[in-house]
């Protein structure tokens, strides 16, 4: 993890490169976070890639309900030579959650992006095969969103099998 100064220097460097790419920084709790603008996230990632952060260790989604914009996508970058980590965070609104895909830069982002799409409904534009990966393809809704109902199927007992919905046949 770069120190606070190092993080700010990286942010400045990225702003010099593309003035609108970095919206803010967050340092603490063992993480250095760059808050990137959704439309420029690939710029940020490729610049960091050029700086040595060549390994995308993780790509995952978060739902920050009730904050707005609600959805977040986090890219955990790792510099294998300096043994240095940095997090790129992107926030997208729930009304139109779209992001450019990172698969061209990191082919390994293929499955994580499908998972984020499956669980949070973030659409990665340009992804080669954006389908559900864990849930069945005809599943409706995005189960890891905070407003998705927690309860599962009601349990079928003998006493309620006539009234419970979804009874076999």
């Amino acid at each position: 993890m770069p120190d606070a100064t190092g993080l700010e220097l990286t942010a400045h460097e990225l702003r010099d490169h593309n003035a609108e790419s970095i919206l803010g920084t967050d340092f603490g709790r063992g993480r250095a976070v760059l808050l990137a603008a959704p439309e420029h996230v690939i710029d940020v990632l490729s610049h960091l890639h050029g700086k040595g952060y060549t390994f995308l260790a993780s790509l995952h989604g978060v739902d920050y309900y009730p904050e707005e914009p609600r959805l977040g996508v986090l890219y955990e970058m790792l510099d294998m030579h300096e043994v240095d980590r940095i997090t790129v965070k992107v926030r997208v609104s729930i009304d139109d959650p779209r992001l450019p895909t990172a698969t061209e830069l990191f082919p390994g982002a293929d499955f994580p992006e499908r998972e984020v799409y499956d669980m949070f409904g973030v659409v990665f534009e340009g992804h080669p095969d954006l389908r559900r990966i864990l849930m069945p393809e005809d599943f409706e809704g995005f189960p890891q969103r905070r407003d998705f109902p927690v309860g599962g199927e009601p349990v079928l007992f003998t006493f309620n099998e006539e009234t419970s919905y979804g009874k076999y046949q």
Binding site: M135, F139, P149, G152, E153, L156, Y168, Q169
Partner: protein, 223 residues
Amino acid sequence: MEIKREPLDAPDDFRSRQLMARDMLRGDLEGEALERFVEQSIMTTTLEKAVSWSQGNSIYPMTFGLACCAIEMMSIVGARVDIARFGWEAFRASPRQADLLILSGRVSVKMAPVIRRIYDQMLEPKWAISMGACCSSMGVFNNYALVPSDKFMPIDVHVPGCPPRPEALMHGILRLRDKIHGHSPDGWRQRYDAVGTEEVLIGSDPDVDAINVFQPDDTGAAR
């Protein structure tokens, strides 16, 4: 099964039984003595009872594990609770040869059609045990991902626990054995409308089109 026995004239005398058996083989035993000897030597039952007795003592479970319950399921073939005592030890790798499906673990929404298809591929008579909380009521994974097994296939015995100890599964197995032996009413089958769900392949019977054969966009449910 009732075994009808009458005491011999000298019931404790083993030697006299031996002599009587020898006389019978020689053809010297006649009349009432012969009748009584035969009554003592054979037992009568119905064919149905005899068949269910042998079915209950020669179940081949399917080699099929879903989650952590499967570890407990594997241990029932071990020495401590040895289901070989009841003739259940031969785990079959093909549903066509198996009589029993032990659902040992959580059933996800995606896995349910697969399990249903395996169940349909098993030949009658067939039974199913739902092992553990997840499979019966989804247990701690009561969320979007799982489905209880009652929703898509008929279950004979539910074994509760998380996971159940091998002894608990053994108890369930013995309850199923009692059910098979006692020929307990097939009420559950009518309730679930679960008769005739076997998969019949195209061409196996000229009169019958393919029944219950999985099609690419099928959900796997019986038609």
